[in-house]
Amino acid sequence: MTQHSPGGLMIILGTFIVAMVLSQIPLPVILEWWRPEFVALSVIYWIMALPQRFGVGSAWLVGLMLDVLKGSVLGINAISLTIIAFLTLQMHKKMRMYPLWQQAIVVFLLVVVNQFIFYWFQALAGTSALGFTFLIPAVVSAVLWPWVFVMLRSIRRTFKIS
């Protein structure tokens, strides 16, 4: 618990790089609203699993990277990811007890918060929103959560990251 292997850090970083690549892969126009928020899902998982190592500060940094990668106004993703990181940190003990489908509901709400913050600021910066389509990613993320969770957990167990 106390000693942190540097290898573990690389693995966590690796999962974030994969998540960022997945969030950038071009999709056909019809599917572009159906992209899950992979980075937000990874942030939620790592905070739930390792709250003593991965906290709001790391989430903030990841958000800043995502801002640069997406070309959005600097700080939008940092804010939204920090907020959902903070919320997850507050209830990570409860969330660990939930069955997967119940976790998925919480994840849905967290991603909804993420999307709301992101598109509010996006709208302030000058792009208009189209109804509630921006909530589709939250649904897709929640549906995908059990798989993401199981996969990241098996990664964490294989490399014994704690």
Partner: protein, 292 residues
Amino acid sequence: MKPIFRGGLPRLSFFLLIIIALGLLISDYRGDSVRPVRSALSVVLTPIQWLVDIPTSIADDISTVLLERAVLIKDNNQLRSSSIVLERKVQQMMVLRAENIRLRELLNASARVDDTVLLTELIGVNPDPFQHQVILNKGSEDGVFIGQPVLDAGGVMGQVVEVSLYTNRTMLVTDGRHALPVEVVRNGMRAIALGNGSHGELDITHIPDNADIRKGDILVTSALGERFPYGYPLAKVVSVLRDPSRKFMIVKAKPLARLNNSRYVLMVGSKPPVLVGVQEPINSVPEEEGQP
């Protein structure tokens, strides 16, 4: 970790981080002060953009390998014949250009200079549906600058909005925040083409009810914005709606550039002091040489 920090530390750092992020957000929104931060970070993140591009380029390579000989020969013949047609046009162009220069000299008008061109490859697309942006693989190392026009074989694609060392981000003309001064080729009428955020459509705004614009008209850049050189084709008018209850006509146009599937694009250098001596010979193609 001591349990005593559980309550206080995350909350404090949470508020601090939010405040720093808000500060970044405001300064990025209000001005250029955080641009160095952004371009430094995007140099670090360039490998991720390359990673994103790998599947596409592999698919491209595979489809090249799998192409049949017959298809290749057919393609080759087609290209050869189109090259002959183009070369003939270039021959005419030389005479026309010489004539144009003479006439301009007669009129004491300033001569139009040929633009230098940089061949660039598209390596990424912005996944955010609200932003029509692409990432191209030339950066400030290659002399790319903010505001540089980007074209493909069909016409104007957009302009550079962000430059890092090895890549740049180009806003497409269909982005909701893009506007471009244009003129109608047929009669020289000036207008402004606005992106409206939907793919493959531009709004031509503030056209008075009695103006002469028709379906099928070609719009070219008018250079009035002082960013794009004069005369590159932008779009074709697809619908003109005269509504007596409105002050202006509703005119829609379709971009001539293939915004969604061009992989190789051209960046036009209309800022010579920056470009001189920076381009590599392989990448720079003089615009009107017909050599394949």
